[in-house]
């Protein structure tokens, strides 16, 4: 992998921070805390999500922050568990006070089967948290009207789902995401559903600003190598987007010249 130096200046700026990596990584579902630092290193990620929960006195868990890098990484606590804007705001404030910084991924979910976010409450929470100085990255069901309101509310990015959380089914909502990328002047970060590096690459080729991956890495047989694979896939897709892919054709376009030879005789 001697490689070629690429896109040195291609950075994603969110909340005033320049990110070289366009792969955000979640920390749920890992079989052990010890995997996390290795996964994060392999992923090259600079934005890491985590969640708040009530302590269970009988099974006290270690603080996940102990397993995350201290430097060069932005913490992105989510508001999972929130069922409306008010709870999301409360969780965001708690996370900030707990030392997670001022970024927050808003996640407001009422649906327990598909875990689809509630766009209406998400917009409300975004409006409030932006006012309080948070860098707000809302997780949404892909919808142009919602994205417009988030832009107006001062969101730092829009994070539409590709498929239900943890489903590993990729870019099922591709058409709507494509439209968000085209129409909304905010970074569009595909969150949820991405199950393979090829799908992450495709999102980036479409012009997504980044992707957030958790389940696909955490549930792989080898999470560290899968993190590595996603790192490469996201880079591949991003570079391809910038390199300007060629047009698609219904029919064939010869790669080798088509002139026959060894047989044709002219007069």
């Amino acid at each position: 992998m001697t490689g070629v130096t690429v896109h040195q200046n291609d950075t994603l700026v969110i909340g005033g921070i320049s990110l070289k990596s366009r792969l955000f990584v979640g920390t749920g579902k890992f079989s052990s805390h010890e995997l996390m630092p290795r996964v994060i290193q392999a992923s090259g990620s600079q934005v890491i999500t985590m969640a708040l929960r009530r302590v269970d006195w009988k099974n006290p868990q270690e603080n996940v922050l102990n397993y995350l890098p201290k430097e060069d990484v932005v913490l992105l606590p989510n508001t999972s568990g929130a069922r409306n804007a008010e709870e999301a705001v409360r969780i965001a404030r708690l996370a900030k006070a707990a030392g997670c910084g001022n970024w927050v991924k808003i996640e407001v979910i009422q649906d327990q089967r598909y875990l689809l976010p509630d766009n209406f409450e998400t917009v409300k929470a975004t409006e409030q948290l932006v006012k309080e100085g948070f860098v707000v990255l809302p997780y949404v069901s892909p919808d142009l009207g919602t994205a417009r309101r988030l832009l107006d509310a001062g969101a730092a990015a829009v994070m539409p789902l590709g498929a239900p959380i943890g489903s590993n089914r990729g870019l099922q909502t591709k058409e709507l995401i494509r439209i968000l990328i085209e129409e909304i002047s905010l970074p569009i970060i595909v969150d949820a559903g991405i199950g393979r590096p090829s799908e992450a690459a495709e999102a980036m080729e479409m012009g997504a600003a980044a992707v957030l991956v958790n389940t696909a890495i955490a549930t792989a047989n080898d999470p560290v190598q899968m993190a590595n694979a996603f790192r490469l896939g996201v880079e591949a897709g991003r570079i391809a987007f910038m390199a300007g892919p060629g047009a698609r054709h219904e029919r064939a376009e010869a790669s080798s010249p088509l002139t026959g030879f060894l047989r044709e005789v002219s007069e």
């Binding site: 979640g26 920390t27 749920g28 579902k29 890992f30 805390h33 996390m36 999500t49 985590m50 969640a51 708040l52 929960r53 009530r54 302590v55 006195w57 006290p60 868990q61 270690e62 603080n63 996940v64 922050l65 606590p77 989510n78 999972s80 404030r93 708690l94 996370a95 006070a97 707990a98 030392g99 997670c100 959380i165 943890g166 949820a192 957030l212 958790n214 389940t215």
Partner: protein
């Protein structure tokens, strides 16, 4: 005296501070943040806060999430 911790009633002795409560549970070190009667309390304040009858506490940790 009773307080509500993470949604469950719990008896405590009078005069207990939040810091003491956490230390008795041997989990103080893991706790990320505490909400006391709806107010966020950072670590610096745990030692100063003496629990009162019917106080409500949310004692939270940071865990893996996506």
């Amino acid at each position: 005296m009773k307080i509500v911790v993470n949604g469950q009633q719990q008896p405590i002795r009078e005069g207990l501070t939040i810091k003491q409560l956490l230390e008795e549970q041997k989990a103080a070190v893991a706790i990320a943040i505490v909400e006391h009667n709806g107010q966020i309390l950072t670590k610096e304040c745990w030692d100063d806060t003496i629990l009162q009858e019917n106080d409500t506490l949310e004692i939270l940790i940071l865990i893996g999430g996506g």
